[in-house]
Each structure stands twice: as C-alpha cells, then as structure tokens.
C-alpha cells in the first residue's frame, strides 16, 4: 500500500513539474514486513522479540514426558535410545498441547573452546528438533538455539558434571 502511494506521489510530482526543475522521485523502498514494534518505537524483525518462559506448563511437560532434557556423549550430537524415548514422550505432550512453542536449547560441557561449543550446542539442539519434527510436531512451533558452555547445570571439573552439562533442553515459551 505504502509503495503504491509513493509511486503515485512521484508520478504526480513529475507531471506537475513539467519543464521546471525536476524533483527526483522519493526513494521507493520494498514493502514493509509486518513486524512488531520495539519498546523504543523501532520496528523489530521477526525472531528478535524476547520470549517468555512458561513455568507451569514446563512442570507439566516434565511430569508427563518424564524429562525436558536429553543428554549426549563427548563431542556427540547423535541421540541414543534413551534420548529418543524422552523426545518421543515430549512430542506427544507437544501434540496434546498445541498452543505453546518450544525453544530447543543445546549445551556443551566446559571441556571445549568457547566458539566451538556454541556450534556444538546448536548441532545438539538441531538433532533434538529434527527428532521432534519426525514425531509429528510442526516445525514452526520449534525454535533452535545454543548456550554453548555458558549455562552448566553441574559444577565440577569431572566427567560426572560434564555429562550432565552435555544436553538439549526443551523450554516452553510464548
């Protein structure tokens, strides 16, 4: 709509000016995407709006699916049978509760460099997301992210703690 208006205005300007000084037409930008407005009044791109966690529904997911978390081997992003079973149960919950989205969040242990662990976390989250999609969860309900090694749940520089930190967590969000 806005594009049409600007073109119209430019056309009128050209007709009216005739042999007088030509006013250059205003710059025509592409159609403005529908997007939220940020707190400062600025247009915010889709995907750049803060998310809200849903603690009550998260507790229900954990109770009904058994866990919101699956675990990985060192440097691995493949899902073992326990992880697949957990994700299958999560998928059933998500299909029974269609009004929430989930942020699938990958994590790494501290025994990796910072940048690589960001990539590894995304790899793990992507594996979990793909499995949920294969179980019938619509992909547009699932976000993927990585926390790298920044959010461990277990303190300790030992294999037991590291194993707890190599994980993907299904976080319900609005």
């Amino acid at each position: 709509m806005r594009k049409t208006f600007l073109l119209g205005a430019a056309a009128i300007a050209l007709v009216v000016s005739g042999c007088a000084r030509r006013t250059p037409p205003p710059e025509v930008t592409g159609p403005v995407e529908t997007a939220p407005i940020g707190p400062g009044g600025e247009v915010v791109a889709p995907g750049d709006v803060e998310l809200t966690e849903l603690p009550a529904q998260q507790a229900d997911l954990v109770a009904k699916a058994g866990s919101d978390t699956v675990y990985f081997g060192t440097d691995e992003h493949i899902l073992d049978t326990a992880a697949q079973a957990t994700l299958a149960a999560q998928a059933r919950w998500l299909l029974e509760n269609p009004n929430v989205r989930a942020s699938i969040e990958g994590h790494a242990d501290e025994r990796g460099t910072r940048e690589y662990n960001m990539a590894l976390g995304e790899r793990r989250a992507n594996s979990a997301k793909n499995f949920l999609v294969s179980q019938g969860v619509p992909a547009d309900r699932l976000l993927v992210t990585s926390w790298g090694k920044e959010r461990p749940v277990a303190i300790g520089s030992n294999e037991e703690a590291w194993a707890q930190n190599r994980r993907a967590v299904t976080v319900l969000v609005r």
Binding site: T113, R114, A119, R123, G148
Partner: protein, 450 residues
Amino acid sequence: MQNRHCERSEAIQARSGLPRLLRSLAVTTVLLGVPASAQEEGAPPVEVEVVGGQNSQLTVAVPAMPGQAIGRGIAEVIASDLRATGAITPIGPGGIGTYGQAQAASPAYGEWRGAGAGALVSGYVEPRADGRVTLACYLHDVTAGRMLANQGFTVAQSDWRRAAHKCADLVYSRLTGQGAFLDTRIVYVAESGPKTNRTKRIAIMDSDGSNHRYLTAGRATVTMPRFSPRGDRLVYTGTLARKPRVFVLDIASGRERLLVPGGQITFAPRFSPDGRRIIFSWANNGNTDIYVVDADGGTPRRLTSAPGADTSPSYSPDGSRIVFESDRGGTQQLYVMNADGSGQRRISFGGGRYASPVWSPRGDLIAFTRIAGSFNIGVMSPSGGGARILTNGWQDEGPSWAPNGQFVMFNRIARGGGSTLYAVPINGGTARRMPTPQDGSDPSWSPLQS
C-alpha cells in the same frame, strides 16, 4: 596527542665496541634514536647487533619525577609497565632518590651508575595555559652517560596515566627494538557468581588494569568482545530472544545495534583490519559457517559451506586472508582461506586439535588453542610450520595479540576453579596474570592508542 620533540630515529652504523648497556640486552637488534642535540654533526648511523643471555635483563632506574604531585604517580606507572614487559627490571621510584627539573635532561650519570642502573627514565610535568599538561620524557644510557631519546606527550590532566604509558612505550621500544604496546586497553568478560548462575558483563580497562569500568549491565549472557581497528567500537556475542547474537557497540556512547536481524544464531565476530567489514559465524540446521557483512549492516555473504562447524575467523593484518577453525575433517583444525572464501586449506597437522586462531598484527604468526589433553596457547606460522606451545595450564584458551605481536593474552581456567586473564611473551617467558576485580574471560587487546 601532540609531541613536543621528535627524536631522530636513524640507525647508526657501529664502529668499535658495543656500549656496555646494550650487551646486557637479550634481544638481537637495537636501533638507537639520538636526539639532534646529542648527536655529533656528520656521524653516520649505527645498527647494533647484540646477542645476550636468555635471562639477562636491563636495569632501568625510574625515580619520581619532580615538580608536581603526579610526578611520583607517573614514575610508578612507568616502572610497573616496564616490569610487565618481562624484559626490563625497573628500580624505583621507591627507595631511590629524585632530581630537580633542570636535571631531567642532564642528570648526574655517575650517581645513577652507583645505584646499579644501566638506564634512567627522567622527565617532568609542565602545565599548559589551556589546562592540559605536557609530560617531557627522557631516556638515558647511564653507562655511556648520554641521552638516548626524548619526547613530549600532551594530555588532559585526567589522562596523565596515558602520558606515562606513552613514556614507558618510548623506553621499551628504544631499548628492545620492539613496537609499542603499553598505551592500550583490554576489553574482556567480567564474571561473577556460581558457575550455574554466572553473571557476565563486558568490561574495559587500561593494559595495567586501571580505569576499569563495565560496558554492559549483566542481565544477558555476553561473550567474545573484540575491538575495532581504531579501538572505538566493539563487536561481541550477546543474547536476544534466547539466541546468541552479534552486537556492535560504540564504546564512547554505549549505543549498540544487532549486526544481523531476524532471529539468526550469530557469534564469534571480528572486524576486518580496515574496520569496514565484520566476519562472524552463523549456525543453522546443525551446520555453522563463516559469513562476512559490512560493518554498517547489510546482506551477509557466505564464505564457507562445508558440513561441520566452521568458526572463530580472524583476518590477516593486510585483510587478504582469513584463518579459522573447522571440524569438517573430523576434529577441530586450523584452515586459511582468501578473504573471498576461496582457497580453503588446512594448516594444522600437529597431532592435536586446534582452535580459536588469531592472526598476529605483524602478520608473521597465528596464535591458537591446542587441545591435547590439556588446553594450551601456541603460535605457528601462517603456513602451519614452526608450531610451539607457550603455556602449561589445564585449560588455557582464547588468545588475543598485543599490537606489537610480541605478547599473547589468554583466558586461564583452573580445574574446579576460577577464570583469569594472563599474558605471555611469545619468545619464552612466564605468563603474567592481568589484574581484574573479579574473574575474567575472553580478553581482547586494543590497537595502540594514538
């Protein structure tokens, strides 16, 4: 900054014998800058080659400067800076005498020889009509009894520490032949709280830990801040909508913006050497690749596309090539490519895993993290040869170069313990801890300030 004097820096051809001062240096070549007033008319340049013992150090007296209250403070900053270089042993300002302003340019060399010093840093602070101050800085060869260099540095009174760092840089570079690096800043991530609920804030400080302040509030996870080539902006990895996102921050104003809008996972950014582009990693569908975008924003251009995690890119100082890490071959290794993404080839073959490469500002070396049981910092040539490991911690990672290419700062994580910043000289020497008020990680060394 204005220079009141510019000493001449021609090399002088050696005649007979070496000044005793220089025989004690551990470096190979020293160029002497001799001010016009001290040089004989018509004397040809001298280039002095010195081969010294590995542990020989040059002793430099740094007495309190006369005339103003900050004269003692300036001497303390200079002495601390020189000690931090690892190549110089300062004496004073405590425990040694001082001098009057008239002796700054013409000290009593015999007295300083008696104090056991091979060199002397002297000077004075002069107030100016516009409210600024000028630090006159002199370096003397006490053994030979002559001035080696002098320069004036004019600053706002509140910036007196920077004048002291500039004076220390003059002394260091004249005595060692290396480039300056002391008038610099460090940006890093200040960490506090338990590791399971860590507060991370971007912080900035002078290279000696002074003038420390926080640039972010600590509500969002922040990592990997890096300076722009002029030191006026940072790129870093912040968090938005629960995803890692690259931000560009203007240091003076605190204003920042998203580099790539639209909910994409972006991280590990660095500026190009001309400051006009930013390279970064973009993770999508289980794959991470390296992209480049104009620093002012725009459509990112993809540089790598191999399956796997390509990340941690760093430009060569001439902007023509990029070193990065990739696990496309199975484990993290270092690769070099042209700046347009062509010609990607592996350069690390040392038997470990190699990560977080950073190209030296001198272009001659690439620093990296080697993972072989422990994590340690090393350097190799851009073709991958001559790799040597510089540190011996349990987890040392994330190197960053000093602007003279002689020191590498890194993050040391103690097993079961905290995270701290260290700097290590590349030619052998002990890693030295950088003072921070809390734990710290992800250090980045600024360019030399002008």
